[in-house]
Each structure stands twice: as C-alpha cells, then as structure tokens.
Symmetry: C2
Subunit: 334 residues, 2 copies
DNA sequence: GCTTTTGATGCAATCGATTACAATCATACT
DNA sequence: AGTATGATTGTAATCGATTGCATCAAAAGC
C-alpha cells in the first residue's frame, strides 16, 4: 500500500503538499492539486489513519457499549447510532459488555488508549475510569449515556421520560377497569427501572390501587418475564393484568399465562415496554410503550459529535417522546 | 494521559525497557520489571494503541459488516463474533451496510487504511478493493465470509449447508402430506437463497411435487414475507403450506394468512428459517430450520484469527450443522 | 586471572502522517 | 528600480510506541 511519500514522489512535491491537498485543498494551487490528486488516484493511496490519529490525537471513532447486542431493542438503538456516526464521519467500535462490570471497564480503557474519541454507553453504570474523566473534564467529557438517565453521573444523555411513560401505561390499564395489577420490573439497579416503577406507582396511587399492586423484579429477559408472571399467577388469583418493563419479558409472561391455562386478554391482560418489531405479531398483538429506538441512537451520536466539536450543548439531557401503542393484549377487566 | 516516556522517567529506565516489560516481560530482570510495573500503576499508564499500530502495522481490530444490525439473526451472529474477538484480544469495528454497495466499499477501504487487521462480511458481495486483495494475497487475505458461501469468491467462510437444510425442511413438509407448497425465497442475488432454492427443488422433485411448487421471491423482511404470502394465497387456493427462507418473512406470512381469514396450521402450514428467538413465541409456534448463529459468528472470528496468525487453515469453508425444529405451525395437509 | 559467553539495558531509527515556520517567487506599490 | 505583500511550497520536528544493534557488567570457562 502506497504511503504519502510515494504519492509525493509520484507527483513531484513534498509530503506536506500532499497532506494539504487532502486536508486543506484550498491552500494549494490548482495545478499542484491536480497533479497530486492524479498521483493519489494512480497509486490508490489511502491515508494511514493510525499515523494521522497519532499526530492529531483524533481517531474518528466512537465506542458504543451495550449490555446485549442481540437484544432487538439495543440493536435498533445501535443501528440509529451507526447511521448517524457514519454520516458524521465516525466509525463505530462495538462493545458487548454482557452487563458485566469488568467488560465495561475494559472497554472504557479504550478511551484512555486513544482508540476512540468518545463513548456512548447504553447501560446504567459509568466505569470508574470514565467517572474520573467526568471529574476532570466536566461538560467536555466525551461521554454520552443512551436510554438511561442518571443526573448524578453528570454525563449527557438521550432517553424517554420513563416515569411518565410507565404512568401512562398503568393509567390505561386502570382505565380499562383493572384493579389487581402485577408489575414486572427490570433490574432495580438500573435507574430506568426505578423511574418506571415510580411512574407506575404514581398512577396506581392516583387510581387508589396502590395496595393492589404486586411488584416482581426480572432482568429484562424472556425467561425472567416468564418466571415472574408464573409466580404472580400462582400467588394472586385476582390479578387481571400484568405490566412488564420490556417486551421481551412480556413475551415470557405471555407464554406463562398460556402455560397456566389462562387466556390473554380475556383472563389476564398484558402490557409491555419498548415496542420491538415482533410485539405486533404476537398473539394477541402486544399493547406496549413505544420508544423511538433509532432516534435515541442518532441522538446520542449527535450529542457526542457536538461535544467533540467543542460546541457547548444546548441540552445535556434530551428527552424524546414515547408513545403508547394499544393492541389486543390489553382488554377490559373481566 | 501519561506516555511511555513518563513511565520511563518515573521508573528510571529507558522507554525501550518499559516497552519490553509490557510486551516481552520475560526478557527483563525481575527488579527492573517491578519498578516499571509500579510506575505504570502509579501513572495509570495505558499504551497508545495508534502509536503501537503505526509501528507494528497490527491494529488488534477486526471489522464486521452486516446488512442490518437490527435483524436478530445478524445481531446474534455478531454477538458470537464479538465474544470470540474479545477473547482473542481483538476489538470489533461494526459496519451496517444497509445492503448498499457503496457502504460496503467504504467500509472495505478501512482495511487499506490499516484501521483493521481483517474483515468479516455477512453479506454476499465482495467489494472490489477486497477482491483485489484476494487476488494479491490468496489464502492469506484476512477476509472471512459469514453465513454465505460462494466458492468463486475465494475467501474463507462459515455457514450451514443451506441446500441440505432447505431440502430437509421441504421433505418434512411433503412427509406431512402437503402437495401444493409455496416457497418464499430471499433475494436470489444471494447464493444462500439460491442454495436453499436448489435444496427445496430437489426435495420437491424427489416427492414428485416439483410442478406443484410456486416460488416467490422476497427480501428477507417481514413486509416482503407478508406480500409474497398474500399473493400466493390469492392466486393459489390449493396451497396448503408455505416455506419461507427466513423467520422474519414467516412472521409476515403468518399475518398474511390471518389477514386472508385462514388458520395456521389448519388451513395453511408454515415453515421458517433461522430460528430467531421470537419464533417459538408466535402463535402457533413456528417450525423452522435452526442455525447456530452465535457459533457462526465465533467461527468466522476463529478463522480470521488463524489467518492473521499466519497459520494455514485446515478448512477454508466451515459447514456447521443446522437443525430442524418442529413446532405447531406445520401440520398435516388438510 | 584472563577471555568468552550470557543477560540486561540503552540508543536511536522507524512507522506515516500533520503543521509551524522558513524559503521562494511573482506581483503590487511607491 | 526597490521593497513590501501575499500566495505557494518545502523543511523538519513531532506524535508514542517498537526493536535491531551496541554496550556493559557479571557469570562461566579454561
């Protein structure tokens, strides 16, 4: 592969000029520029990005870490992010943390190693090395949190109003006449789950149903949804509706409902969260809170790009609109 | 951030020694090593990977391109790949090509730019710059194809036996007494689709049902599955089974079957391909061909790592086993 | 006791770009 | 004509690591 020196030789100029033609074309004279570009084409020259990064300390890469890439919710967020990144001239480094802290930390060191200009993390934990970076750089730390929102972390973020969304969903459930409602949360270590629980409780209180609320916690997986729902059904025959904090858990709950010999929505109604692509094809189609997944992804990249450009952010915490999608899984109370 | 010189100063040694402690610890004396490691810890030194790459021309990164990251089939493959990559000390650069050739080409140039040591592509097209690399390097080209298998490309690959798998699925359909079977393929530009069609046809021929086979082509998406199924149902009332070349298309077909007022499997049986996580939760649960998605991902990385290590591959084309998963969506012919 | 071998470390070149500063030359101005 | 001005281009330092070769001291061999 040709390097800048080869191009300079071929064009009969210095490497400085070649570099200028490629990075600041305006400052070099037309005929020279043409000579150089011809040589570039001739040799199929592509600049070595490592050398460039070394010199400029900019990598044109952003790192995105995610607890589980094969979860369609996250992969949609990532798709949006990837798209926005490419549009802004950044490449995406992907890290699947499996929700494990040590992997999160390992990926975080890539920032210190100057392997990426910034990081977008979709989990709820901020690795310590990044925490230090936040302490050091404050607003200028190239770190953005997606989906979650924890003001105490001090990082920019893009998310929906989880509390309001859960409130919204629960209100609809109560409006349909349900009294005894089971709630299946995600890990409560995640602020997002806690916010949703806050919203759900607020709605219950408003509908004077707060003590007819049973809360079980899952981990967002299909299996945990099934387990939680099974327990709820077994222990609480009066329950007529379940609200799961993810569609995956709702899918698990649905199979648990069937396994228990009940019908949805006739015996037990079901509401999920996320609106992943498959939810509308379940039987019955799932009522759920829709999040603008790709838009969240794009949003995180846009914030990060602003930070990297050194422009002060208008808003450090962007709240995008959610939407309640009503489908057949939510019926009126029996 | 501290650099190698800072560490050298702090430890009272030369940068060469620091470098050795980190890369070839065996050659440096115990006491020196300890001094250096202490300094490293003290300063929280992390080597600058760009400088290292520049010098060694190895990046410890592999690029993975995929037509659509939010498709759970691909995201599972990627998950497996990411895991294997991390285990082998490689980071993953992700490229979502949207199936567009120009994006594939753009990503391919990252190899020329030395931004990645190798590439795994999950599509069926080999960008021209990579084609040239294959011509130049032959077996040693750090390029691996996942899911697809096109011997003419001359690159290593990991996949299932698509023809046999489709044959397998069709045979089961015929064994259940179906005569008129609709087949919904993916894009026929993809060898994988053509292979599956070959297998499906072979089975039909064996069961003397080749002229009761109607083939429609989709593009692997839910919507295209729905469209194709609608057309088949409208034009061919005798049809009692549909075989889709992806679960996504089967999901679309299922909703089309319902929309046409038919029941599955009583009126029309359905078989998919891939066994994505949601297929078993459909109603009825989907009979489908299961692919070892994460294993395919891991396999591609393992092949690539071998190539990068300069070790000759035992097999350049790895065929992994598929499995036919029987669920309720396939019934006996009415 | 003197030479040879071995082990540990340092010196300095190198990877491929970017960019501050210097040099050059043509044009403009007095 | 003589000098100031501005437009181009070149020179060389620099980014932060790695590594072949030289150096030097200690251990081994005779």
């Amino acid at each position: 592969m040709a390097n800048i020196q080869d191009v300079a030789n071929a064009a009969g100029v210095s490497t400085a000029t070649v570099s200028r033609v490629l990075s600041h074309p305006a400052v070099v004279a037309e005929p020279t520029r043409i000579k150089v570009l011809r040589a570039v084409a001739e040799l199929e020259y592509a600049p070595n990005n490592n050398a460039k990064s070394l010199r400029t300390t900019k990598t044109s890469k952003i790192l995105i870490t995610v607890p589980n890439i094969s979860n369609p919710f996250f992969s949609s967020v990532i798709r949006g992010a990837e798209q926005a990144a490419q549009a802004a001239g950044y490449a995406v480094l992907l890290g699947d943390t499996h929700g494990e802290e040590h992997r999160e930390n390992e990926y975080a060191t890539m920032l210190n190693r100057k392997e990426a200009d910034g990081i977008i993390f979709l989990g709820h934990r901020l690795p310590t090395s990044l925490q230090e970076m936040v302490n050091r750089l404050g607003d200028k730390a190239p770190i953005v949190n997606g989906c979650e929102f924890s003001p105490e972390l001090g990082v920019a973020s893009v998310h929906i109003d989880n509390s309001a969304a859960a409130d919204h969903a629960m209100s609809l459930i109560f409006a349909r006449g349900h009294k005894c409602v089971g709630v299946v949360t995600g890990t409560l270590r995640s602020p997002l789950s806690r916010d949703r629980l806050t919203g759900a409780s607020a709605a219950a209180r408003r509908f004077s149903a707060i003590d007819q609320l049973k809360v079980m916690s899952g981990d967002f997986s299909i299996e945990s949804g099934a387990r939680a729902a099974t327990t709820l059904i077994d222990q609480w025959p009066e329950m007529t509706a379940i609200f799961c904090f993810s569609d995956e858990m709702a899918i698990g709950a649905l199979s648990a409902i069937r396994a228990a010999g009940k019908r949805c929505p006739e015996d037990i109604s079901l509401v999920g969260f996320d609106d992943i692509r498959y939810s509308q094809y379940l039987d019955p189609p799932l009522t759920t809170v829709s999040q603008p997944m790709e838009q969240i992804g794009r949003g995180t990249v846009e914030l990060l790009v602003e930070i990297l450009a050194g422009r002060p952010l208008h808003t450090r915490s962007v709240t995008l609109p959610h939407q309640l999608v009503e489908r057949a899984s939510l019926g009126t109370a029996p």
